[in-house]
Amino acid sequence: MAGPKQKPKGLSRELTSLYLENQPVPVALDQFRAKPKFGTKAERWVWRGFKSSARNDDLVLHHWTKANEQFTDYFYARYNAKTKPCQYTDDEYTKRIEPLDAAWTRTETDYLLKLCEQFDLRFVVIHDRYYTHPECPKEGMRLDRTLEDLKDRYYAVSRVLTQSRAQQDTRDLDDLPLQATNKLADDLALLRFDKTKEQERKRYLEALFRRTKDEIEEEEMLIAEARRIEANERRLVHEREMLIQSHVLFDEVPAGDVGPAVKVQFSSGSDLPLQSGVATPLGEHGRVRKGGPDGSDTGSIKSIKRHKSSHNVAGRHRAGSQKADAHHGAPKLSTSSVDAGGRHRTPSSPGLGSAPRVKDERGSMPPEFGKLTFATEEHLVDPAISYVSIGEGETVAVAQRDTKLGPGVFLRSDKLHPIPKNKLEAVKDFMHDLGLSSPNTIWPRPVMATPAVCDRFDSLQSTIIPLLDCKKTVDKLETEVQVLRSRRRLLVNDIGEAKAQAIREQTAAADASQDCRGQPVVVSGRSARRRWRADITARAARPAAARSTAT
């Protein structure tokens, strides 16, 4: 056992004291601060009595003060601020104040001012004590003075007094010096009091305080609405203007109203009713095709009117000037014609009374117009045309799909009608099966996105979608048929072949004729009677059912 005096290496003294016994316990000795030594001698303080100027009696209070201190005034008397309400002489009263308000007598006004002085212009207190103050003059006083009345009277009196006093000082001069006028204005501003406004304000505050929860919520909603409207105001105004503009543009003809076939016979150069009116004014702008839409041919599809064999002249603007003869050889189009690209819309068979393309460019009439002939290629047409006015009262035929474009640049393939996402895959697969759509794209697009192709592609898309829907419903219906068939089989097995046969005949008979009666009924025994009754009701139900299916 190690002795207590041994100092184990590596361990501190404190640790050893923990596990060894009989260790000396350190004790904190009391340490007192030494008494501070001052250089100076202590001052002498005296218990003295004092009076305060703020008091209006002679009360003497005592406190400790330094012996050598002079007593001027009680230190805190400076905070005894008193307002000084105005005072007037009798002369002033009769001259200026009395004419102000007939409802106030001299005594009452004096009384009011006395209270103002006593209570430091604290009108709430004044109003409270107005009728219960010991010095209240009981006679000649109105008994319904409100707080606003008292204030009003006081401030009116003060204003009149300041005004007259300021003017009195400079009675000799014509007008007051600038400084004085400013001072007067300031003083008067301080004494402004509008009784009606004050009453109103207090009424509002009261109402505000007493709002119910519902009212508060309603107000908040209205505020939010108002803020929203303000935020959107600019946008709404802008939209309205755009709407007005676009309406004005198309108000010549309702869009989509293509019906009446305006046949334009172009067989001879002279017979060009539309042409003549158009040539000159449109001269500057380069020409837009004019033409007449022919009757529409609607298959079972309603979407876009397609003209299989009719002649339609595209109202689309083609720019560029080029002799397109190089391509077709046959057509002798004038130099002023053509589209940038020799894309010709040619009528299919001349037999149907050709309505050749009218291309009028820069106001010059094609000289060889009457001799236009076209190669008989497939006629690729714009199906839907609407008339657009381009100012000066002229209208021009433009393909309807183009009228819906706003200003700007677009890709034609972007302008196909979008397919709803949930049908996208199905439509893509369908198109792929048909071998039509271009691969590697998210949504189906045609191989060559020309206007004619796009129109047809669109119509294809818009027929595929109802077809897919119809397929789905047919599947559903046919599965239901299967289910019902199996159910019937079960029932037939339950009942028995012969009986089922009988019932089937009954049903068939019911279907054949509207009212079915006259099935012989065998009544024998209770169960049979029950069966008979059931039969009757079934038969009664059957005609009703038959009638409903027949309709």
Binding site: S321, G341, R343, T450
Partner: protein, 217 residues
């Protein structure tokens, strides 16, 4: 620069062709397997620069200077690589038009389509072409002048030849195909409609019978 007044009711469309050609590299120096060219041009190889101010091809980030800008034709980028990625072709129009640039997106195709991979002869280029039309709706007067004056020659060839695979002939063919498809679809639709009608009638009849049978139970 303020764009001029827009001409209402005026629509001009310009056909363009874009895409890529890829050929397999027979001698592979790096791990690049193909040499490809991505381009933008007119379908009849005609000049399209009169309405195009500049063209930017944005390639994959792994390419040096992956934003290739061309202010004059030919608008083509030729590179070597091994992967297929999306290329963004951004076409800028002259400032006089006041039009915003338009972007075309397509995948760079290096390998022949699945169905023909086996039979594809070595060294035969893989073509991935797209046809589209830029529709300029309500162009400004200045731009209109540019568009109309600058056109030279027919913009779509009559027949397909060589690289120019989009032609009036192909357009007509596609229209024919689409029309027949529409006819097919409508006839199918009518078939299905009829089937649904018969099914409905059948259902009603079966329901009747079942009701009767249940009563007789």
């Amino acid at each position: 620069m303020k764009a001029g007044k827009r001409m209402k009711g005026v629509v001009i469309s310009k056909p363009i062709m874009y895409g890529n050609i890829a050929t397999e590299l027979l001698t592979k120096k790096t791990d690049h397997t193909h040499k490809w060219t991505v381009f933008l041009r007119g379908p009849n190889n005609q000049d399209i620069s009169y309405f195009i101010h500049k063209v930017e091809f944005k390639l994959h980030d792994t390419f040096v200077n992956n934003n290739r800008v061309f202010k004059s034709p030919p608008y083509e980028v030729t590179e070597t690589g091994w992967g297929e990625f999306e290329i963004i072709t951004k076409i800028f129009f002259p400032p006089a038009s006041g039009e915003k640039p338009i972007s075309l997106y397509h995948m760079l195709k290096l390998y022949p389509p699945e169905s023909q991979v086996q039979s594809w002869p070595k060294g035969k280029p893989v073509n991935n072409f797209f046809y589209d039309e830029l529709i300029f709706s309500e162009p400004t007067e200045e731009f209109f002048e540019m568009l109309t004056k600058g056109a030279s020659g027919p913009e779509i060839p009559l027949k397909a030849s060589g690289q120019q695979i989009f032609s009036l002939g192909s357009e007509a063919a596609e229209c024919k195909r689409l029309e027949s498809a529409v006819a097919q679809v409508t006839s199918q639709y009518n078939d299905y409609k009829d089937r649904s009608k018969t099914a409905e009638v059948e259902i009603a009849k079966l329901r009747q019978e079942i009701a009767a049978l249940e009563q007789a139970r």
